[in-house]
Structure formats: structure tokens, C-alpha cells
Subunit: 205 residues, 2 copies
DNA sequence: TAGATTGTTAATCGATTAACAATC
DNA sequence: TAGATTGTTAATCGATTAACAATC
């Protein structure tokens, strides 16, 4: 039986996990679907329903033990291990991503950085040596890297994605402002700040 | 009658707009719901349905004139004008956002940058002078700024959001890894790369 | 015990898809 | 004309919510 759990449920779990980590950090030990829902602007029923796809993590009358639920969600999401992530593009955007401090302790770390520009190759971003795109296939295959972040210009993104997929990458976080066409077994997520801004201006006068 | 158009429809329009701008850049003048859907991985029926909420933009038999549809979507999304955006936070993340070249020509530009750290205030990020948080209310009120991007640590984000809202901001793009509680008339969008990565690891082995 | 909260079922609500007449 | 594609209606599908028995 292939996972029959709706995509949209999976997409909410990381948000729950983040909230639990925050609560935990604030020193709280137990929470309820009601409290969590209030924090997240989601109904308590939806939270209980989502969680119930994976088992009964709570106790009637008392709610959820935060540490326990957090561990369970980490397992479900497959982020108990630490994933190596390749970063493609060492321009302004790639630089920012490479320097971002928020990956550690949440299941990810950057393993290598690539760029096509000969004048960038050999230089460093922080702790990372910039490698030439020609090495991409070899490095990614040898290290068995499955996740990549794409921070190249829109024009180059599809071709970079194709190369990544050929090298075995199965998950792409795309910062380039363009839609990628990928096979069914490859997952793509998009980050484009302008898209997010444009989703709000509709409601402004 | 208040807008009865579903949120989820609005959220797809910027993606359509981006695709149209790309097609236009590639020199194409006409497209169809079928072609657009194939590019975006969306059914043609959904695209036609979404667009039909706002009027008939196409022609039977021939499809949509790209330049025309693009203009119409810009009008619908309210991005024909250029919006001033305030940026709060001049750390690593704020720096990256301030230097991001992707805002121009898509309806937005950064108007001012704030930080609470006294040693940062008065310095510059690129073309922007960093202003003290104490000036936030005054500057935002006087300039009538309605949109802000928050790039401060998680601990500070809620309080910054409250201040922004008190100053009249109605749309917040939040880069801090935390959920914000805001009134109903304020819109929030979130960018947290780790959330996006965690949405994909579930599907990896 | 009384109060609280879960997990789950059934009902409701809303979104997507299929299909096709209209028409370019 | 014949072929293509829209805009829209109705059917399907799926997600959210309400409600409550179970139970801590």
C-alpha cells in the first residue's frame, strides 16, 4: 500500500513540528489540539484529524506530551536523520542561502555549493568551496545526495534541475522564479517572495 | 458584495502571471489553458475556471493573448502600481532580502530598512540607510506603507508584527520561523525554507 | 467524581474535473 | 468549413468541521 495520506496533511506537519519546538523551548511540556490550533490559526479538529493519520499521540483529558509528539512528527517527516543538501548557484541569492543559519537542528545541512561561472569556482562562501557545475553529477552521485536547492537565474533553472535529477536528486527547493517540469517521482517546492507578496496585494486597496 | 472569490484561486494567479511574463519574454504572443496548464502542472479546466471568476479573457478557438491576459491579471492582483515595502531586520537574512534583485518590475520595491541594534542603525545595506526601530511607527505612518517583510529572530517577530500593524501595515511577509497572530484584516505569508524541505523528506526513503 | 480532551464518524462544505455548447 | 479552444454547468471528488462516545 503506497502512502494514502493526502499531500495537504503532510504539508501541515512541519508547521505543527515548528510550533511544538517553540512550545518546548518556552518550557511547556504538554499541549492540546485547541491550544495548538489557536497558535496556528487552524481548527483543533483539523489538527486531531491530521495527527490521527499516523496514530494516537495524545491522551483524552490531558492532551499531547510535547516532547513525545515532536519526536513522532520528526519520525513521520523523516527528519530524525540529518540530510545533506546541495546548493546550486553562488550569486547573491546562493550566498544568502549558504549563509542562512536556520538549517541546523532541523534536519538539514548544506553539503556542497556549485556555480557555473569560472571566476567563482575555487572561491569560497563562508565554509564552502565553490565547485564547478561539471562536477555536479560526480559529487552528487558519489555522496548519494537526494536534496538540492536551486538558486540560479530563471533561464538556467530547468537545465540545472534536469542535471540534478539525472544525478539522483529527488527533492528540489527552487528559488528561481520559474516553474520546473520534473518526473512524478521528484518533488519540488518553490520560494519566490514576489509570489507571496502578490498573494496579498489583491486584498489591499 | 465583498469579494467572494476563494483564497485558493487568488493564490494561483501570481503563478499564472509569472508564467505569462516568461512566455512573453520568450517572444510568444498567444497561449492556451492547455499549454499553460502543461507548463504549470495544473489542469486546463482549473485555469479556465480560475480566470473566469474575473471575466472572459480568451477567445474560443484561439486562446489567450498573453500581453492582454498579463495586464488583466496585474490589475486583478493590484500590482500595476509599485508598492513600497518596509523591511524589518538587518541581520544576515535582512541583508539578503535587501540585496535581492527580484522585486523590481514585479510591483514592489523596498522603501526603508529597520533594525533594533544600535550598532547597525546609521549604517547602510546597499542603498538603504538602517533606521532605528523607534522610528518605525512614524516612518511607516507618514509614508503610508502597507506592506512589510519581517526578517528578525523568531523571539522578536510577534512584537515587531504588532508594532507594524499598529502603524497601519496590512500585509506581512514573515521570514521568521514562527507563526504570527494577527487580526482578520491583516494578511500574512510565510517563507521558511526548512518547512519546504520538510514537506519533501516525507516522500524520500 | 467532574472536567477536559482525544480519536473518529458522519455531515457539510468547497474545490476540482469532466463534458459540452458556443464560437472563433 | 473543420479544428480548436473558451467559458460554464453539473458531477465528482476530497477536505474540513461538527459532534460525541470513550477515557484520562
Amino acid at each position: 500500500m503506497p502512502s494514502s495520506i493526502p499531500d495537504i496533511v503532510i504539508s501541515r506537519l512541519p508547521v505543527y513540528l515548528r510550533a511544538l519546538e517553540r512550545l518546548s523551548q518556552e518550557g511547556q511540556e504538554v499541549t492540546s489540539s485547541h491550544e495548538l490550533g489557536k497558535r496556528l490559526g487552524i481548527s483543533s479538529a483539523q489538527i486531531r484529524k491530521d495527527l490521527s493519520h499516523f496514530g494516537g499521540f495524545g491522551k483524552q483529558g490531558t492532551g499531547y506530551r510535547i516532547a513525545y509528539l515532536r519526536e513522532q512528527l520528526r519520525q513521520v517527516l523523516n527528519v530524525e536523520r540529518d540530510w545533506e543538501v546541495a546548493l546550486i548557484g553562488a550569486g547573491d541569492l546562493g550566498n544568502a542561502v549558504a549563509r542562512y543559519r536556520g538549517f541546523s537542528n532541523r534536519g538539514f545541512h548544506i553539503a556542497c555549493v556549485f556555480d557555473s561561472a569560472p571566476d567563482k569556482v575555487g572561491k569560497s562562501i563562508g565554509e564552502f568551496l565553490i565547485l564547478p557545475l561539471d562536477n555536479l553529477h560526480t559529487v552528487i552521485t558519489e555522496r548519494g545526495i537526494k536534496i538540492a536547492m536551486v538558486a540560479v537565474p530563471a533561464e538556467a533553472a530547468q537545465s540545472v534541475a534536469d542535471t540534478l535529477i539525472a544525478a539522483g536528486v529527488r527533492a528540489i527547493l527552487n528559488y528561481a522564479p520559474i516553474n520546473l517540469n520534473v518526473p512524478d517521482n521528484v518533488h519540488v517546492q518553490y520560494i519566490d517572495p514576489v509570489i507571496h507578496l502578490q498573494r496579498m496585494t489583491y486584498y489591499l486597496d
